[in-house]
Symmetry: C2
Subunit: 187 residues, 2 copies
């Protein structure tokens, strides 16, 4: 009894992995991979609460799609909380697992950058703006799950360009400081 129970456990673990690896696998294929009958696979799935193929595909399509949709307005990375045009802006970005750098739990730098760059642009009143140059420094790291708070301040004009400085922090720890020189193009 002990032995068979652990065998079952092992099989179910394998099943979970197989499905995670390839959610498009039918019970038939899974049964073949595990060298058991379809019935067993179905039983295991039922016990584990794993939905059927079509259901898996459906939810995959939906979540993937919504992720894509929420991702592609990449312009505004982070949520714009408040702004006073040509003066300042404030945005927050909730970080998630998929923003991690490699196998760490540190948030990848380009998310920090993207939030900073988009809020710098958002802070400018004009519609036609272009980032001319920037300079930045990472002073610490955000971890997955942290909320990044970026604050942009629009500084002086400099030969038709505006200087926007952005400071990003997690809690009260500053993790990024940057200056963007933004060109405003007259329409």
């Amino acid at each position: 009894m002990l032995k068979s129970q652990s065998e079952r456990k092992i099989r179910q673990d394998k099943l979970a992995k197989l499905i995670a690896l390839n959610p498009m696998a039918t019970d038939n294929e899974l049964a073949a991979s595990l060298n058991v009958s379809i019935s067993t696979v179905r039983l295991d799935r039922a016990l584990m609460g794993v939905p059927e193929l079509r259901e898996r595909i459906r939810t995959m399509a939906q979540t993937a799609l919504s992720k894509l949709q929420s991702l592609s307005p990449s312009e505004v990375i982070g949520e714009l909380l408040d702004l006073e045009p040509d003066k300042w802006a404030l945005s927050v970005l909730q970080t998630a697992k998929d923003m991690a750098f490699r196998f760490t739990d540190i948030v990848s730098d380009n998310y920090v950058y993207s939030q900073a760059s988009s809020i710098a642009v958002a802070a400018i009143k004009a519609a036609n703006v272009i980032i001319d140059s920037m300079r930045g420094e990472y002073k610490g790291h955000a971890h997955v799950g942290d909320v990044l708070i970026a604050r942009a301040k629009v500084g002086v004009n400099h030969e038709g360009r505006k200087i926007v400085s952005v400071r990003t922090r997690v809690g009260d720890k500053e993790i990024f400081v940057g200056r963007f020189i933004i060109e405003v193009i007259e329409a």
Copy 2:
């Protein structure tokens, strides 16, 4: 005959739009929306070569997933063409419509940045690296469809940090120059 043919055409256009809008709609629902029988919907679908619901969902799931997967390993944005560890690296990034800034056909700065940052990191041999700071300048703009070529050069050590300079160009026009200071963490 003319009239009915055009009616059919109109219905098929509507059908196509309905499906594009909501690929998860069953023939049943489509029939109800168009006020025709299921048979008609199936016939139209067959004539138009539109696959069935499950097929649509399957391809949706796959393409959305592959997009996400190609997007989320945001570490390597662009394709790494060649590299000599701790010396230099070369990557190309094919730009697309969804990388555009606002309503322009100019490639959004964060794609340029991301490619640069990821190649800078890739050029370093060590596994545990962290971007300490960076400085960059945009010298021109890439347009949707352009191929961005980024070349990273690993420079001298500087107090345990490495300086990597990245130049990005489109054709022979330089659009970005940046320097990343990267910290190597001993494991």
